[in-house]
């Protein structure tokens, strides 16, 4: 043991220790950028200068390579030492003005601005020689070295020839204090790592946009009715949020959602890959917007958990009022609102006949437009703050087997990864780690990392304990919001119950627990060839926003079509055979009734009704013979009669929901031809 004094404190340290080690042992911090416990001392950065008194001589010298001596008296901060240290910091800062590690070091000695300008402000190598020593001492490859004198000095391989071993060895990378190591021109250190990371990234991008294209293809197929409906709704059926809430609210095992199990498995294994690899809406968000964090209220990320929880709680109470916030439905509705009329217009022979849909139609795209708009604030704003599906898979990702991992031994906190993160998931405050619930496994951060510190290893535990974990406040928020929603519904505020009964639903829905199953995706509207199915606003109650209603004034139900039932992913519109749909007690929409006051007795309805429901009657107080739906008819409310009725402003025949058919106002008698 050697006895010495550091800052007046006596201590004994092992022989062959350096002054720096002795100080560290005494808990005294001395800044340094070129020393590391694994490597032989070198003394390049000169930040670790201290004042040493020995044998009556006082010198300022570097502590990292000064061995301790018996009776040595060390002072780690004197006026001269501090001035020298600050100058060294200044010189390094002036050399590499943009390197965060240097900026922090400079700030730690009280220097906020470099005094000199560097012709190459992008310079990030401080020539500390750690890589060279790591190559010699640790890797024992001896391929890295210095060349050039003075300012021309640089780290490179012999004759600037790239060495194969530098592709994969990467032992030096950990030691580099600035991240310059992988930017060295000739050695191309970490090329293997970067290539791999790049391949993954490219694979991901290809996958993601393929998914988007498939989605768009399916949308087109739906709009043109060319594919079997069972395949076009696959994105809904893979969707774990829909798969969770629809059966929950509908109290029914919906077999259509079995594929969602695949997503669950993928999430548990790979994390939030749904958002980064599959979600077509996410792919759209990737196309523009700013990466990293810009929005002031980052904590609002927890809002998505509240939204999710409210949706789930509501479902437990049998309601799906907010499923219009589910991203796949948002996207489908957004595209439907635009493309359905567009296609109709294109297909029309006489463009004059095109009727521009009203606001209520385009209103279904509002969430989609909103999501695109907020994407300008931050890329994937929707995914970060609002998406309930993201929240669900995010929660699952907290337990995932594979997670993003930042090697803290290597990380120099340069923040490069954060600038590439489309989710802003990387936390500058928390050592550039990311909440697994925020990370969408896009892997964009791995390649730019100059320290090759970012990997996606298996078997990572500990998904909890991050800055955006949902907590008590979110739980309270959920309880509050759900209570209000459930309360409003059960208290029937806004006469919701009555409103519900006043609308017509697609075929068979009347006989179903429709609102507890409808996930508001509006694919039925999209697929309906005659525009018979239309989106609801608030006419069926506020909880029925964007649910499908049928509107005989716009279209009619094609006699031999069951597409809406086939496409409905949650069986809210039951999957019926043609015979079932044509049977009013199974697949009915409502009942048609002729208004004798306005009917002009043209009898077109009687002729056109595919179900032959009409009879001829004479009506009290009215002249002539009128059409009327027979009491024993199989009127499914297909709306053909309404469609063909020549009265324009006020149709003479109306389809009413079952149970809402009014009493006949006038007495009538069946007419028999004389």
């Amino acid at each position: 043991m050697v006895n010495l004094t550091i800052n007046g404190e006596k201590l004994a340290v092992a022989e062959n220790s350096t002054v720096l080690e002795a100080a560290q042992q005494a808990g005294i911090h001395i800044p340094t950028m070129c020393s590391h416990k694994d490597l032989t001392p070198y003394g390049a950065c000169r930040l670790c200068v201290v004042e040493v008194k020995r044998n009556g001589r006082t010198v300022v010298t570097t502590s990292c390579n000064t061995p301790v001596e018996e009776g040595m008296d060390v002072t780690t901060e004197t006026e001269e030492v501090n001035a020298t240290r600050k100058t060294m910091a200044n010189l390094l800062y002036s050399r590499c003005p943009e390197v965060p590690a240097i900026q922090r070091m400079a700030a730690s000695v009280g220097l906020l601005q470099p005094s000199f300008e560097n012709a190459n402000p992008k310079e990030d190598c401080i020539l500390c020689g750690m890589c060279v020593r790591a190559c010699d001492d640790i890797a024992q490859e001896h391929v890295l070295g210095f060349v050039g004198r003075g300012m021309d000095r640089k780290v490179t391989t012999a004759f600037d020839v790239r060495q194969e071993v530098c592709d994969t060895c990467n032992k030096c990378v950990t030691y580099c204090p600035t991240g310059a190591i992988t930017h060295l021109e000739a050695p191309k250190i970490g090329l293997g790592f970067k290539k791999k990371a790049h391949t993954w990234k490219v694979a991901r991008v290809i996958f993601q946009y393929t998914t988007l294209l498939v989605f768009l293809g399916l949308m087109a197929a739906t709009l043109f009715n060319v594919l079997q409906p069972l395949t076009v709704n696959i994105f809904s059926r893979l969707n774990p949020l829909q798969a969770l809430v629809a059966p929950l609210a509908g109290r029914d095992l919906i077999t259509n959602y079995i594929p969602a199990l695949l997503t669950v498995v993928l999430t548990i294994v790979f994390g939030r890959v749904w958002c980064g690899w599959f979600c077509p809406l996410g792919a759209v968000f990737e196309l523009f917007g700013r990466k990293d964090r810009h929005f002031k209220w980052q904590n609002m990320r927890k809002l998505k958990y509240v939204i999710l929880a409210v949706i789930v709680v509501m479902a437990a109470f049998g309601g799906l009022a907010f499923m219009w916030f589910e991203p796949i439905t948002v996207f489908i509705r957004g595209l439907t609102a635009i493309f359905k009329p567009l296609i109709q217009y294109v297909q029309l022979d006489k463009k004059k006949d095109f009727i521009m849909p009203g606001f209520q139609w385009f209103a279904i795209a509002i969430p989609f437009v909103f999501a695109l708009l907020v994407n300008i604030i931050e890329k994937r704003f929707w995914c970060r703050y609002l998406c309930p599906l993201g929240a669900l898979v995010g929660l699952g990702s907290k337990f995932s087997w594979i997670k993003r991992f930042v090697n803290q031994d290597s990380c120099v906190k340069c923040g490069e990864c954060a600038t590439h993160c489309p989710m802003g998931a990387i936390s500058p405050e928390n050592d550039f780690k990311s909440d697994p619930a925020e990370c969408i496994m896009c892997m964009d951060c791995a390649e730019p990392c100059p320290k090759l510190a970012i990997t996606f290893p298996k078997g990572q535990l500990g998904g909890w304990g991050y800055e955006f974990d949902p907590g008590r406040r979110e739980a309270l928020g959920t309880i509050g919001a759900s209570a209000v929603a459930v309360g409003l519904l059960s208290l029937d505020v806004g006469n919701v119950q009555a409103a519900k009964k006043s609308v017509l639903r697609p075929p068979g829905a009347y006989y179903n627990d429709f609102l507890s199953k409808c996930i508001r995706c509006d694919q039925c509207i999209e697929v309906c060839p005659t525009h018979y199915i239309q989106p609801a606003a608030f006419e069926a109650g506020w909880d029925s926003l964007y649910t499908p209603i049928v509107d005989p004034f716009v279209g009619y139900c094609t006699y031999d079509c069951t597409l809406c039932g086939q496409i409905c992913p949650s069986h809210a519109i039951p999957l019926l055979t043609l015979e079932e749909k044509q049977n009013y007690s199974i697949g009915g929409v409502g009942w048609a009734q002729v208004n004798f006051d306005t009917c002009i007795r043209c009898m077109t309805c009687l002729d056109e009704c595919p179900y032959k429901c009409f009879e001829e009657v004479e009506v009290e107080g009215h002249k002539g013979v009128f059409p009327r739906v027979r009491d024993d008819a199989n009127c499914v409310g297909c709306g053909v009669c309404v469609d063909v009725c020549p009265k324009q402003e006020v149709k003479a025949v109306v389809v009413f929901p079952y149970g809402k058919v009014p009493e006949e106002k006038y007495k009538f008698t069946k007419y028999t031809k004389a």
């Binding site: 950065c45 000169r46 300022v60 020298t84 100058t87 003075g150 300012m151």
Partner: protein, 619 residues
């Protein structure tokens, strides 16, 4: 050490006796200085011409001829001296050969036009020793430079060479040798003046049997050429001291580290080593003393920093020539991790004299703290540039004005830069200080390897500082931040100042930088690189301020800050300046007044040089 051969006459001494017997000191000998300076001005051609004339005139029997190493008075080369009379001819041309042989050798006449003319008195001086340049010197190391053929082992023996080696190896114990060197007060001539005896002792005492000694002949300072001249002139003296030192320290292998830009010196030291080996002065059992020693010549690639001992050793080992921290000192862990002693060429060369004449003789020369003589290369704005050896303690003024002969022009001398890029500028007002390690150190300069650049009024001190820093920034190895970045930043600041971009606060910032770089640098290069800046700021602050505040260069050097101007009352309208001006910046009527267009003027100064009426001035 009892030696069986001690009383047997050494072969070496027998050879010496033999040589002395045939040697006739009165026989005339024409010596042609073939130092690098004289060679450059045609010494070898002169030698050839002399050879031819000797043959032609049939003078072979009457005269010897040889080339010697540098005589130091490079300004006046090629130099030819006739021994033993020491008739001294300067600026000799090939065409003078015939006369020298015909008149001086054969008839004993003196050729007046080849004699040196004292610039002060105008008097012609016949003998070397009467020339003020030599008169004021005290030549010990350089004593034989002008009389022996550096490639001749025999010549060295005749002047008493290798006597000291025999004495040391056969009659002295290593500790006695070290004690003798210690007593002599010899300090390292590599620049720092560390007591040589003490250094040897440390190395001798270091544990281990494998030790190394090194001759540091890297000499990288601009303007310094003493080591090279000494090796070129008298390589055996270095070698002799080296072997004695190795014996004292207990090293069996030595390296001569010499830069490859010195091919002549490399050649001469190699010849000397081979000759010494032939005569059993290197190799096994030297002079029967039982001591083994051999030498390798290692060429350096010419980096200034490789003169630094740790960098030098790294370079020998085949690594990048960059210094490492001390401790461990070379005496503990040097070359190949073994105890190593490294000394400058001059230090080694001094040793034989100390052994021969004794520590007392040596230590009576010099000052209290610095003993002996030292060699300077005097250059700059003085009459007698060249290599001089003076006792320590001579005043700067004597050195510059007496030995150097003062200013060659009307202009007043202003300062002297000692120690090259690592040293400082000492103003004329302080020239009465004695030249030794301590006094120069106090003034902010160093002895260094002995470069001395004399400057007059026409030298801009900011520009000088910039010049040296430019050297240092390129010669910095780049290992440590302080030196690599700091020196560059200082250079940049100085460069801005000389170009008129200086700002208030720059001087203070420079001082701050200087202090930190001195404290924070790993090796001597960085620790001393700020000296030129610090001393020029200290002694010539007003010049800095003029550059920064008034944007003028008082000395008229910094191009961006000066304008050339033709004085109307002196201009005769001869048009000479206008014809020489490469930029067509001068216009006027022949016979009338000429004017310079400052926008076109590139400030090359040719107009001032050609003007016969001193009409062109700098403002």
């Amino acid at each position: 050490m009892s030696n069986p051969t001690a009383n047997v006459k050494l072969a070496l001494e027998e050879l010496r006796d033999e040589l002395m017997a045939t040697y006739d000191p009165s026989k005339p000998c024409v010596t042609v200085c073939a130092g690098t300076g004289c060679c450059a001005s045609g010494a070898l051609e002169v030698k050839a011409a002399l050879d031819e004339e000797i043959k032609k005139q049939g003078a072979d029997v009457h005269v010897d001829i040889k080339i010697t190493g540098c005589r130091g008075f490079c300004e006046q080369g090629p130099l030819v001296a006739v021994l033993p009379t020491k008739i001294f001819y300067t600026k000799v041309k090939q065409s003078d050969a015939a006369q020298i042989i015909a008149k001086t050798i054969l008839k004993g006449e003196i050729i007046d036009k080849l004699l040196y003319k004292d610039p002060v008195t105008g008097e012609k001086i016949t003998h070397e020793t009467d020339i003020p340049f030599y008169k004021e010197q005290h030549r010990i190391l350089l004593h034989d430079s002008g009389s022996i053929d550096p490639t001749s082992f025999e010549d060295y023996l005749i002047v008493g060479g290798y006597k000291a080696l025999a004495k040391a190896l056969l009659t002295m114990q290593p500790v006695e040798i070290i004690e003798e060197v210690n007593q002599s007060g010899l300090g390292g001539r590599g620049g720092a003046g560390f007591p040589t005896g003490k250094k040897w002792q440390l190395c001798r005492q270091a544990p281990g049997t494998e030790k190394y000694v090194i001759v540091n002949a890297d000499e990288g300072d601009p303007g310094a050429f003493q080591d090279r001249s000494l090796i070129e002139a008298n390589p055996h003296s270095v070698l002799e001291g080296f072997i004695i030192g190795a014996f004292a320290i207990g090293a069996n292998h030595g390296y001569v580290y010499i830069r490859h830009e010195y091919p002549l010196a490399v050649e001469r030291i190699k010849i000397a080593i081979n000759k010494a080996r032939e005569h059993g002065l290197l190799g096994k059992n030297i002079l029967g003393s039982g001591f083994d020693f051999d030498v390798t010549v290692q060429m350096g690639a010419g980096a200034f920093v490789c003169g630094e001992e740790t960098a030098l050793m790294a370079s020998i080992e085949g690594f990048l020539g960059e210094p490492h921290a001390r401790p461990p000192y070379p005496a503990q862990s040097g070359l190949w991790g073994k105890p190593t002693n490294i000394n400058n060429v001059k230090t080694w060369a001094t040793v034989p004299y100390i052994i021969n004449k004794g520590a007392g003789w040596y230590s009576q020369m010099g000052t209290e703290t610095s003993k002996g003589t030292t060699i300077f290369s005097l250059v700059g704005k003085i009459n007698n540039t060249g290599l001089v050896e003076v006792p320590m303690g001579i005043s700067l003024r004597d050195l510059i004005e007496k030995v150097g002969g003062g200013s060659p022009s009307e202009k007043k001398l202003k300062a002297v830069q000692t120690g090259g890029p690592s040293g400082g500028c000492i103003p004329e007002s302080l020239w009465d200080v004695p030249v030794d390690y301590k006094s120069l150190g106090k003034l902010g300069s160093i002895m260094g390897s002995g470069g001395m650049i004399v400057m007059d009024e026409s030298t801009c001190m900011v520009d000088i500082a910039r010049y040296f820093l430019n050297f240092s920034r390129f010669e910095s190895c780049g290992k440590c931040t302080a030196c690599r970045e700091g020196v560059t930043r200082m250079y940049e600041t100085l460069d801005y100042i000389t170009r008129g971009y200086g700002q208030e606060g720059d001087i203070e910032q420079l001082e701050e930088l200087c202090k930190s770089i001195k404290a924070g640098s790993l090796c001597g290069l960085g620790q001393t690189a700020p000296n030129p800046v610090l001393t020029t700021i200290k002694y010539f602050r007003e010049e800095y301020e003029a550059h920064i505040r008034e944007k003028t260069c008082p000395a008229g050097v910094c191009k961006e800050l000066i304008t050339f101007y033709i004085l109307p009352d002196k201009c005769t309208g001869c048009s000479l300046c206008a014809r020489y001006c490469g930029d067509q910046a001068i216009s006027g009527e022949k016979g009338g007044l000429y004017v310079i267009d400052p926008d076109k003027c590139q400030r090359c100064g040719v107009c001032r040089e050609v003007c016969n009426f001193d009409a062109v001035v700098v403002r």
